[in-house]
Symmetry: C2
Subunit: 454 residues, 2 copies
């Protein structure tokens, strides 16, 4: 029986016999009896197995080592210990898979750096049990939110010949025998042209929004940026909804509702995991998440933000300027000032992407960034430029390759409409949800410059 | 209001005023009135908008073209027509986005080949409305099945330095400036070594199954095979569950339950789409799917299969042989013979992957392929070799690079256990669910040799 089933129904199982399969996390054998800290990973809560020397193979059992796989049969009993409601009094314990003494994941404190080097074993550690179950639960909550609200899940292409952001550094994908070819000719390559890994599914998602009104992507995206920071990975998952007949204000409504839904689901379904993370990773984590779902999201323009920052008495490391991006210190100030998340709208067009709707002032675009206390920017969205001529003029200005983007421009010729969308880096959200501060700890097998292990 | 909401509640909406945003699929203006076949893509069912010359801008409205985006305000009325329960009697129709006469997607029959060439517009056509909504609904059903049964969703890495199947042809991923470098040195490449796109997340999923017991992947995988068939794409999505303490028989239980769940969900949630596909793509489609969920899945060994095939009176194009794979014609015979899906188990080890559990006979492995009427092979799974020495011997035999696979082998040293998993190509399932016969029609932007458009 799965541990999850046992813990979900333990009151009805008392004095009943159950069989469990799983692993020994910690074994404390004594002279006349022993305790096994046991889990099968189906729930965060372990089960204590108690055995005593009445068992025929008591000697063998006392020799069982941490990390071993076992099958245990016994009776569920109310526990006399303090912190556990039940334990399993063993009638029979069988070794399924041994584990030598050199097992790297002994039950003691390990550094996260060390655990990254054994990334194939670290999901067995409590911290990663918590993180990766939250990752799974949050994924599902994201799907639920969109599906419950009538969105169509759209699988954006991963290999692509177009570069959404223009600026994004792309990985190249090839089947040319690089060790042999003298001169590269992409006509000989697999797709007959230069191809790379997508940096965003947005442009393609827009084509589907023009057919289904409400769509979302949830898939991997890539950046070949050579940056070794705590928040950058070369491979990460993105959520990109795209909604027809939706303007910037309605987009913010959706962003707020969506984020609160996902956080609420994780609070409801991962309480044990969050308690653990609150205790060992980020004191106050649960309160932070509860505050978020109860908070009012402020809406303010970029210009108002700069004025506000300029008026403040803070000594800025980076002085705020109209027409420029804002810094981490500004974000922190703003979420403190408004005591909650802040939508910043109408950004200077020169620091934003070509596809964003140009406002009538000629200087700003209908973009919105959401900044969140203790997380900084969590989502970035915009109303899209739906006017063919304005979009084309902007692409001309930026000297973009319009020929390969004909289909994107054509969306503005064939039944164009007001539409908007946002993108959220899934791992950014996970850092926020789990309280760990390094993206390498929320991705099973992180890819960063120089690192492609496992 | 979304069309979906209108159709879900249309009886309560009669004589009420609603506003809709969407597109004109077909416009039939008459002298004194006109009909607009209208949809916003939120449901498969369109809405007829009726207008007459009492409207102030009647002349303008009659000039509205197919493909245009409009906003319509009007009263929901019981329709006098035969096949529709309601229609919208317009009070006001506004053009949001025009559509010129060269719009390629006029309301007439187009070939699928032509529609592939305008893949950015084809989701607006009924056929692709049906297909891509089923794709979305089936995706969600897959997540639901696993999440409801306690599985953890695992995001397998996309970029990888290891090659799961050995044989699979991999795309290479690089940031080397190929046009400039004279001699390739992977030490200079982004990851410091040769990297490619994953062909399967299974091996990494096993590491998570050893921590969470039940996990699944659902993500893109890649094959750089130069094959131009109806069922091969270079980029496709795979589902790969991996279950600890699960043997081959239990795996078959899971496969059957899983497949029936997904098919049932699609039957329940996509009845309009399936009716359309049943009518225009595969007559009998709905019955085929209903038969599947009511059918008994036969279980038979590969050896028994060959004996059965040899005994039959059929004239085989490919004579069946012990120790060899079976052909399409054999699969068809078997699903007919057993009148339903067939699990074929215990395959000759030489035609199967290195990680499969070696049976005691020394000749076969605990693999299982599921073949399904009118679909052929839909899933492939196996019990995994959990014995370190047997696995290592097999890898030696196949001259595999064990050094880079140390972590996979180590799973057999640190608390190994019986475990099993299967893989299902998502697009194979979609071909089965939709009745279309070409993988290019169930992928939004298919990637095949020479084709990486959009």
């Amino acid at each position: 029986m799965d541990l999850k089933k046992i813990w979900d129904n333990y009151e009805t199982l008392i004095d009943k016999e159950v069989i469990v399969n799983g692993w020994i996390r910690n074994h404390r054998p004594q002279k006349e009896f022993g305790f096994i800290d046991f889990t099968d990973g189906t729930t965060f809560k372990h089960l204590q197995i108690v055995y005593n020397k009445d068992l025929a193979d008591f000697e063998h059992i006392t020799a069982l080592k941490n990390g071993s796989a076992i099958k245990a049969c016994g009776i569920i009993k109310k526990s006399e210990g303090k912190n556990q409601d039940i334990e399993l009094v063993a009638k029979d314990i069988n070794l399924l898979g041994d584990c030598p003494m050199d097992y790297p994941l002994q039950p003691k404190r390990h550094t996260k750096e060390f655990l990254r080097s054994i990334a194939y074993l670290r999901p067995r550690a409590n911290l990663y049990q918590a993180i990766f179950r939250i990752r799974s639960v949050a994924s599902m909550a994201i799907h639920e939110y969109f599906q419950n609200n009538g969105y169509v899940y759209f699988h954006a292409p991963i290999i692509t010949a177009s570069d959404c952001e223009g600026a994004g550094e792309m990985f190249q994908v090839t089947t040319l025998p690089l060790d042999k070819v003298k001169k590269i000719d992409y006509k000989d390559d697999f797709f007959g042209k230069k191809a790379g890994l997508t940096v965003s599914g947005q442009l393609q998602a827009e084509t589907f929004a023009m057919a289904f009104s409400k769509v979302y992507t949830f898939g991997p995206t890539f950046r070949a940026e050579n940056s070794n920071t705590k928040v950058h990975a070369s491979e990460f998952w993105m959520i990109e909804p795209e909604i027809a007949f939706c303007d910037l204000n309605e987009l913010m409504d959706i962003e707020e509702e969506f984020l609160k839904y996902v956080v609420r689901e994780v609070l409801n379904k991962c309480s044990l995991e969050l308690q653990f993370l609150d205790q060992f990773q980020e004191p106050g984590l649960i309160k932070k998440l509860e505050d978020l779902i109860n908070s009012h999201f402020t809406r303010i323009t970029h210009e108002e933000v700069i004025s506000l920052l300029k008026k403040s008495d803070e000594k800025w490391e980076f002085p705020p300027n109209y027409g420029e991006d804002i810094a981490k210190e500004h974000e922190k100030y703003l979420t403190n000032y408004f005591n909650g998340p802040v939508f910043i709208t109408n950004w200077p067009k020169d620091i934003k992407a070509f596809y964003m709707k140009q406002n009538d002032d000629g200087k700003t675009v209908a973009a919105v960034d959401l900044i969140v206390p203790n997380a900084g920017e969590l989502m970035g969205g915009s109303q899209r430029e739906e006017d063919y001529f304005k979009l084309k003029a902007r692409m001309d200005e930026l000297k973009m390759d319009e020929e390969s983007m004909y289909w994107y421009l054509n969306l503005r010729r064939y039944g164009t409409c007001v539409h908007s969308g946002f993108g959220m880096g899934f791992e950014r959200l996970l850092i926020y949800l789990t309280g760990v501060d390094n993206i390498r700890d929320v991705i099973a097998y992180p890819r960063t410059p120089g690192n492609c292990d496992f």
